[in-house]
């Protein structure tokens, strides 16, 4: 019955002009650019909500239980998580810089190292959660820390996933476009989209580094 909604004659052959293909390609590039920035906006509001919780509970200090005895999560592990997150972001940025100069191998090495760094940060964050010196519900600080740790794991995994997909794509593309100027120069649509995607991913990693720094200060320094 539902078939009546769209009969078969509505599936003719699509004939695209080169200009239409070019138009769609530009639109694709724009969508990737907008999408990567929107993704940062989404995460920014998510972490802003957590930041609000931090400052709200801190200023309320209900039952005098914001941070009794200035309890702190293990600082060494916390610093390591932050350092690995920052390293991954720096590697992504360095890789993009080298990629733009035409050295896609440098980007590849930096990228895989960045993925490794981010996964190490995730592992350390999980390990830290299993070995906290406080009960999650013992104070406002403890609650906020546990909440942040969970979100940080998801954020780092998102960043690692994005970087890994680009690296895997790079492996498949590089031979195919070797005689077309390489990934940094080729004008093929798949490569152009790859470059926009890579740029968005690098910006996202800068965002991750900013978030890591901000919350590292909140939980370990302030």
């Amino acid at each position: 019955m539902v078939d009546k909604l769209v009969p078969a004659e509505s599936f003719p052959i699509l004939r695209e002009t080169p200009e239409e293909i070019a138009y769609e390609l530009r639109a694709h590039e724009g969508a990737l650019w907008s999408g990567s920035r929107m993704l940062m906006g989404i995460w920014a509001f998510a972490f802003a909500a957590l930041g609000f919780a931090y400052f709200y509970l801190r200023s309320a200090n209900n039952a005098d239980l914001w941070r009794p005895a200035r309890i702190t999560a293990p600082t060494g592990v916390g610093a390591a998580v932050f350092a690995f997150s920052l390293a991954a972001a720096i590697l992504a940025a360095y890789g993009l810089w080298r990629f733009r100069l035409g050295s896609s191998l440098d980007w590849e090495v930096a990228g895989w190292t960045g993925v490794l760094c981010s996964l190490t940060a995730v592992s350390l964050q999980i390990w830290q959660l299993t070995d906290l010196p406080f009960f999650p519900g013992s104070s406002g600080y403890a609650s906020c820390f546990v909440g942040w740790a969970g979100m940080n794991i998801v954020l780092l995994l998102c960043g690692a996933y994005w970087l890994e997909t680009l690296l895997a794509r790079h492996l498949r593309l590089r031979r195919a476009v070797a005689d077309d100027g390489g990934l940094a120069r080729s004008t093929l649509p798949a490569v152009r989209l790859f470059r926009v995607n890579l740029e968005g991913c690098t910006y996202f990693w800068a965002f991750i580094a900013f978030v890591a720094f901000f919350f590292w200060m909140l939980f370990y320094l302030v």
């Binding site: 769209v6 695209e16 239409e20 530009r26 969508a31 709200y56 890994e164 004008t187």
Partner: protein
């Protein structure tokens, strides 16, 4: 020159790879990922999640009336959702991306099976959303009938107090979830590419994902009932939230799941509107409905993460025993209220703005006049969207906030009535001295204006602290938001459906039945909810199943009208089934004589929307204007020149012709993202 073409044989998308990357072979449709596998995945995921939860926290206290603790409930639901989206095939693409592949998109087909699968056709997703939204609406509506049945008598009861509050909570949550996607889902997805002259969405897989996770949210929230429901209403205030049955977990997980769908839908639509507008579709020519969707997507993308985080913190409180909302342990129950309403008030405009967009889109068609003050309307929508982030505290006027903060948020709340008033005045200005065609969609528009006027003015009352303090928590508030959401959004939605269904289905709906639907809907809506203003002013609180005897007459008028209002929905369903399946009458291409771009393509709309990407020449509202140019040139070999002019030399003809046959990554056509 520019008119040479690249043929895409058969029903395929631009950029589809033909070999080496195919995910799906020549299997039967029923062996490919579809809703059956999604159900299997959801059930399997539920039991697996429960097993994992028991493994982690098997020795934790079991919740009342169940055999599960909160950890196993949350794990069961989360893995159930994961199983659902894996079964529908939403994980296939992300996994293949990890292997560096750009898989072929799901083939468009004319088989009815496509409605039960992930699809990259925005029109199929739009229809899927329509059915999904109606499922939400009717489930919530049945619960509303149960509420009004209970309130027929002040002291004789059909349900116990616990069951009653569980029904009220489920109704509210279900309807809010429905309303957040009611227009954006069906009409936004179906119409936006057509209205902006695009052949596709920016991220069609994300679009399809948004629908299927929306339905997963429905299943999760339905599981609240067998788990004992939740006693908090749709606002889920702590500390009751922290103390409630596992049904509360369904609320928290369900709203987060729906929230993910809302973000995904908004993300895709925003990227599409920003980037896929046809050549010549400048911002000043963008249809006002698209402006409304764009403003809504900003709210969806930015406000919803707060809800997800708020729910996540609630889940942590109920599972790993954090104390975000537990005042005695250093948390604060007001924290939930702040986070919830930081999402919840923009949510009001997520529901209202698309309704106004529909009405303003249809007004010029039925008045044969240009849209009055188009730029003011667009600015009003952006203004409402921006201001909606600064008003949330008015929901806490009665919650012990610093009294000095009240005037500030009273002011911001009253400020938002200014851009909202712009929108209202734009519609009135369009009506002014018009020769109105009282077709069914126009009747719904006028009904919406009448209802929203009442809902809006009572909203201005409520923004004032003295009134809010007086009627807080009463049926007055309840009547107010039903007038804005149901009277505004749902009226606009039905108007939009009557207007666009001929395009969507290719069939004309029976106009006599449609008029009966409108008048019964309009009369019984007002008979249901207007008495509740009086009941509220007389002091009847919300969410309480007993009330003073002197309020019975007004409550009975409301209850009987509610049953008749429910029956009027059935007229719509009957009309739809009758007109589309039993006695179909083919719709002409442009039955309302509209200038909208979506009406300029064939009916039914081909899978790629437009034979040629149109070149837009003017805005779509220049009705009754002598010598007005056509809205677009749909034939468009001229896209060559416009495209080259507007978009530079992205890929010239040489690039395409030199690589005509190479598949995969070397395909000159851009892949589906």
């Amino acid at each position: 020159m520019a008119t040479s073409t690249v043929d895409t044989e058969g029903p395929s998308y631009p950029g589809e790879v033909s070999e080496g990357h195919g995910v799906i072979g020549a299997r039967s449709d029923w062996l490919k990922p579809n809703v059956t596998w999604a159900i299997v995945g959801a059930v399997g995921g539920w039991f697996f999640g429960r097993y994992v939860g028991d493994l982690i926290a098997g020795n934790w206290p079991v919740s009342q009336n169940t055999t599960m603790n909160n950890v196993s409930v949350v794990f069961a639901m989360s893995f159930g959702v994961l199983g659902w989206i894996a079964g529908i095939g939403a994980l296939t693409y992300p996994i293949l991306k990890m292997l560096g592949r750009e898989p072929a998109p799901v083939q468009p087909s004319s088989s009815w099976v496509r409605y039960f699968r992930m699809t990259e056709d925005h029109k199929v997703v739009g229809l899927q959303y329509l059915i999904g939204v109606l499922v939400f609406l009717f489930t919530g509506g049945l619960l509303a009938m149960a509420i009004r049945t209970e309130l027929l008598s002040p002291t004789s009861h059909v349900f116990g107090p616990g069951t009653y509050i569980a029904i009220v909570s489920e109704h509210g949550t279900m309807m809010m979830m429905m309303a957040s996607s009611a227009v954006v889902g069906p009409l936004g997805n179906w119409l936006v590419p057509l209205m902006i002259g695009s052949r596709r969405m920016a991220f069609p897989r994300i679009e399809a994902f948004s629908f299927w996770i929306f339905m997963a949210g429905y299943l999760v929230i339905m599981t609240a009932l067998p788990l004992g429901g939740f006693p908090t209403g749709w606002t889920a205030y702590a500390p009751l939230q922290t103390q409630a049955n596992p049904g509360m977990d369904a609320y928290l997980v369900g709203f987060a799941v729906i929230g993910i769908g809302m973000i995904a839908a908004g993300f895709n639509l925003a990227a599409t509107i920003i980037n896929y507008r046809a050549p010549g579709m400048t911002w000043s020519r963008v249809p006002i409905f698209v402006w409304s969707i764009l403003a809504t997507t900003a709210l969806l993308v930015l406000a919803t993460p707060t809800l997800i985080v708020a729910g996540y913190l609630g889940v942590l409180d109920r599972t790993v025993q954090t104390a975000f909302y537990v005042t005695e342990h250093g948390g604060s129950s007001f924290l939930w209220e702040n986070l919830f309403w930081f999402f919840g008030h923009p949510e009001v405009y997520i529901m209202a703005l698309p309704g106004f967009g529909i009405v303003m889109e249809m007004m010029p068609v039925f008045t044969r006049k240009p849209l009055f003050a188009y730029r003011v309307a667009a600015a009003g929508m952006i203004g409402v969207a921006l201001l909606s982030f600064f008003v949330w505290q008015h929901h806490l006027f009665q919650s012990g906030i610093n009294p000095d903060m009240r005037p500030l948020f009273m002011l911001t709340t009253e400020l938002i009535s200014i851009p909202t008033g712009f929108l209202f005045l734009v519609t009135l200005g369009t009506l002014w001295r018009a020769k109105i065609r009282f077709e069914v969609p126009m009747l719904f528009c006028l009904g919406m204006l009448f209802n929203f006027l009442i809902g809006g003015i009572t909203g201005v009352f409520l923004s004032d602290v003295p009134v809010d303090v007086t009627v807080h928590g009463s049926f007055f508030v309840m009547a107010h938001f039903h007038y804005t959401i149901m009277g505004g959004l749902i009226f606009a939605l039905f108007g939009g459906l009557y207007y666009w269904l001929p395009k969507m289905t290719g069939k004309v709906l029976n106009q006599r039945l449609a008029k009966i639907h409108f008048w019964t809907f309009f009369v019984f809506f007002n008979c249901t909810f207007f008495p509740l203003f009086l009941v509220g002013l007389l002091g009847m609180p919300r969410r309480v199943f007993e009330y003073a005897h002197n309020l019975q007459t007004l409550n009975d008028i409301s209850s009987v009208s509610a049953f008749l209002l429910g029956a009027s929905f059935l007229i719509f369903i009957f009309n739809f089934v009758w007109s589309v399946y039993i006695d179909p009458v083919k719709a002409p291409d442009n039955p309302w004589d509209s200038r909208g771009l979506e009406w300029q393509t064939a009916t039914p709309v081909p899978w790629f929307d437009f034979e040629r990407i149109p070149v837009v020449l003017s805005d779509p509202y220049r009705y009754s204007e002598p010598g007005a140019p056509p809205v677009a040139d749909p034939g468009a070999p001229s896209l060559g020149s416009v495209g080259a002019m507007s978009y530079g030399n992205a890929v010239g003809p040489r690039d395409v012709e030199s690589l005509p046959d190479r598949p995969g990554d070397l395909d000159p056509r851009p892949p589906i993202l």
